[in-house]
C-alpha cells in the first residue's frame, strides 16, 4: 500500500474527526447535538488551566501517579536480549490504565452538568474505573457488560456492585463487548438529556478517540521522562496490547514523531488467525461500526463477525480508528498473540517477576518473548503492563487445572 507519509504522525484528527479515511461521526441524529456539545466542552476544558490542575491533583493523590517504570531484570535475563522495562499501569488505583481516561471524562461530565454516567465494559476494568469515580463524585452509574463477560470476570462484577454501580448483563448478539457497546448506545439515545457516555477506549464517534487518547497520553509522556532519567535517552521500542487500543495509544502517541522508536501493537489472535480471533487489523478490513470507520472483522455482506479472545478486554471485532491509520501509514507494526501464547506469558511474568499481569497485557508480554531475544542487550524495550491479573485468577486457575 502506497500512502504518503505525513509531516507529523501526531497532528490528527482533522476537524471532522478523521485520521486519513478512518474515524468520523457515524451516529444517529439523536446523539449528534450532544456529540457536538461534548467536542465544545472538551476544547474549552483543554484550554482551561484549572481543569488540568484539578485533574493533576486527582491523578497524583487518588490514582497514585506517576506509575513506575520498572526494569524487569529477571525477565530480561531469561530472554537474553533487549533490556525490558515495564510501565506499571497495573499499580494505578482500580488496577489498570482505564482510570486515566475515566477521570478525565468524569470531570468533563461534571462540567457539562450530567449526573448519570453509562459505560460499556469487556473485562470489567473500565467498568470498575467508571464505578469508582462515580462513587467518588456521587454520580449515578450504569455499566453494560456482555453476559459472557459477566460470567468470566466475576470479581470485577462484584467490585462494580460494591462501588454502587448497576451492572446490566447484555444478552443480545454474542453477549460480549461489542454487544455491551450497542446496548450502551441504546441507553444513551434514550436518556441523552441527562446522561454522559463514558467510552472506555480510543473508539466511537469523534471526539471520543481523540479525548481518550489525550487522557491516556500521560502513560507515554511519563515513560519518556522516566526513561530519560534512568537511561538518559529514548527507548528503542514500545510494545502494548490492543483491543480497542487505549493503553497502546496512550503509550505510543507521545513517541510517534521519534523515528528511532520502533512501535509494536499486539492484537488478540484467539485460537489462531485462521480460526476464531479478535485481530481486526490482521484479519479485518475497513468498515463502519459504533460511530467510526475502522478495521473490523466482518463477512462479505458487511455483517460484523464474532470475535474471540481468552481475554474479555480484547474480545472486540474492531480497533480504534487512529490505530487503523497508523497501520496504513506504516508507523506502528501490528502483531498478534494467541490465547495459548498469552497464557504462557501470564505464567512466565508471574513466576519471574512476581507480577501477575492481566490477560490483556499478557498478549504484549507474549510478543516481548519473541522480540526481545532478537535484539541487542543495549536495546531499551518498554512494555505497557496495562492491568493486573487479579480479575483473571479464577479463570486462569480453572484453565490451568483443566489442562493438568
Amino acid at each position: 500500500m502506497n500512502i504518503a507519509k505525513p509531516n507529523s504522525y501526531r497532528s490528527g484528527p482533522d476537524e471532522r474527526g478523521h485520521f486519513g479515511i478512518f474515524g468520523g461521526r457515524f451516529v444517529a441524529e439523536t446523539l449528534m447535538p450532544l456529540i457536538l456539545d461534548l467536542e465544545k466542552a472538551y476544547t474549552a476544558a483543554k484550554a482551561d488551566p484549572a481543569f488540568q490542575a484539578e485533574m493533576n491533583g486527582y491523578l497524583k493523590n487518588y490514582v497514585g501517579r506517576p506509575s513506575p517504570l520498572y526494569f524487569a531484570e529477571r525477565l530480561t535475563e531469561h530472554l537474553g536480549g533487549a533490556k525490558i522495562y515495564l510501565k506499571r499501569e497495573e499499580l494505578n488505583h482500580t488496577g489498570s490504565h482505564k482510570v486515566n481516561n475515566v477521570l478525565g471524562q468524569i470531570m468533563l461530565a461534571r462540567r457539562m452538568g450530567k449526573k448519570r454516567i453509562i459505560a460499556e465494559t469487556g473485562a470489567g476494568q473500565h467498568g470498575v474505573a467508571t464505578a469508582t469515580l462515580c462513587a467518588r463524585f456521587g454520580l449515578e452509574c450504569v455499566v453494560y457488560m456482555g453476559a459472557v463477560d459477566v460470567e468470566r470476570q466475576q470479581p470485577n462484577v462484584i467490585r462494580m456492585e460494591m462501588l454502587g454501580a448497576k451492572v446490566m448483563p447484555v444478552q443480545s448478539g454474542t453477549r460480549t463487548l461489542k454487544d455491551a457497546m450497542n446496548e450502551a448506545l441504546r441507553d444513551w439515545v434514550t436518556n441523552v438529556h441527562n446522561t454522559f457516555y463514558c467510552i472506555g477506549t480510543v473508539a466511537g464517534p469523534h471526539p471520543y478517540p481523540t479525548l481518550v487518547r489525550d487522557f491516556q497520553s500521560i502513560i507515554g509522556n511519563e515513560t519518556k521522562a522516566q526513561m530519560q532519567e534512568v537511561e538518559g535517552r529514548l527507548p528503542d521500542s514500545l510494545v502494548a496490547c490492543i483491543g480497542g487500543g487505549s493503553n497502546a495509544m496512550g503509550l505510543f502517541h507521545p513517541f510517534l514523531d521519534d523515528p528511532s522508536v520502533e512501535i509494536f501493537g499486539v492484537e488478540a489472535a484467539g485460537h489462531g488467525l485462521t480460526q476464531l480471533h479478535a485481530a481486526s487489523i490482521a484479519g479485518g478490513r475497513p468498515g463502519v461500526l459504533h460511530g467510526n470507520r475502522t478495521y473490523l472483522l466482518m463477512d462479505a455482506d458487511g455483517q460484523i463477525q464474532d470475535a474471540h479472545s481468552i481475554s474479555a478486554g480484547l474480545d472486540y471485532p474492531g480497533i480504534g480508528p487512529e490505530h487503523s491509520w497508523l497501520h496504513e501509514v506504516g508507523r506502528v507494526n501490528y502483531l498478534s498473540a494467541t490465547d495459548d501464547e498469552a497464557l504462557a506469558a501470564f505464567q512466565l511474568l508471574s513466576k519471574l517477576e512476581g507480577i501477575i499481569p492481566a490477560l490483556e497485557p499478557a498478549h504484549a508480554i507474549a510478543k516481548v518473548m519473541e522480540l526481545a531475544p532478537k535484539r541487542p542487550r543495549d536495546h531499551l524495550m518498554v512494555v505497557n503492563l496495562s492491568g493486573r491479573g487479579d480479575k483473571d485468577v479464577p479463570q486462569v486457575g480453572d484453565i490451568l487445572r483443566g489442562k493438568k
Binding site: E29, T30, I304
Partner: protein
Amino acid sequence: MTTRIDTRFAELAKQGRSAFVTFLMAGDPDPATSLAIIKALPKSGADVIEIGMPFTDPMADGPSIQAAGLRALKAGMTLKKTLELVRGFRKDDNATPIVLMGYYNPIYIYGVDKFLVDAKSAGVDGLIIVDLPPEEDDELCLPAMKAGLNFIRLATPTTDDKRLPAVLANTSGFVYYVSITGITGAAAADSSAVSEAVARIKRHTKLPVCVGFGIRTPETARAIASHANGAVVGTALVDALKNSLDAEGRATGKTVNAVAELTAALAQGVKGAQQAAE
C-alpha cells in the same frame, strides 16, 4: 427528479389524507415469506413501504427489530437479496414507494456506487440510514441524490432550530420525525408534543413530515396522523409477524395474514384522521 415518493405524497395531499408507512425487515422470517408479506401491504392499506436491511449491530433498534434482523440473517438474507426482494415486489407494483432503512456498513461494503445503481434499477425510491448524520453527507447522501434516490433524514427531539436547517439541507422525499429520544419500539409518542414538533419542522421545509417510533395501535396512528403527513409503524407489525411463527421461528400459514390484518387495522386508523391544515 420526481420519485414515486414525491408522486405518492402529492396524490395523498390531493385526497387530503396522511400516509400510512409500514416497516418490516427484509427476509424476516425467510426471503419467500417476506416477499409475500410485502406484496400484501399495498392491498391492506400501506401507502409507503419501508424495508429494513438486516444488520448484526442495529444500535438504534429495540429488541423486536433486533430479533427480526437476526431471523433474517439466519435465513441467509444479504443486501443483494434485499434488492432482489424489491425487484420481486416491483413485478406487480410500480407505484408504491419503497424506502430501504438500515445502517451504513453493509452498503459501504457492497460499494456505494454499485449499490446506488443496483438499488435504483431494482426499484428502490429512497434510503434512511440511521448512522449517517449530515456531518457524513458525502459518504452516501450526496451520491444518492445524484443517482436519483431520495435521502430521507431523521429529525429528533434533540434536533433544535439551530441544527434543523443542516438536517433538512440535503433531505428529500419526506422528513422522518423520530417522536421520542430512544430506540424503536420504546415508549409511546405524546401526540401534542408531536404536533408541536411537526409544526416546528414545517416552518423550515415544504417536505412532507412523517412521524415514527412509538406508534403501535390504530388509535395512536390516528392521533399522530392528524398532526403529520404520515405515520410510520414498525415494531407492532414485526411483533405481529413474530407471534405468528412456530416454536422454531419459522413461518406458518398464518404469517402473511397476521401482518396484513394489522396493516389494514392501522391503515383504517390513519385514514380516519383529519389531516392538519397546511
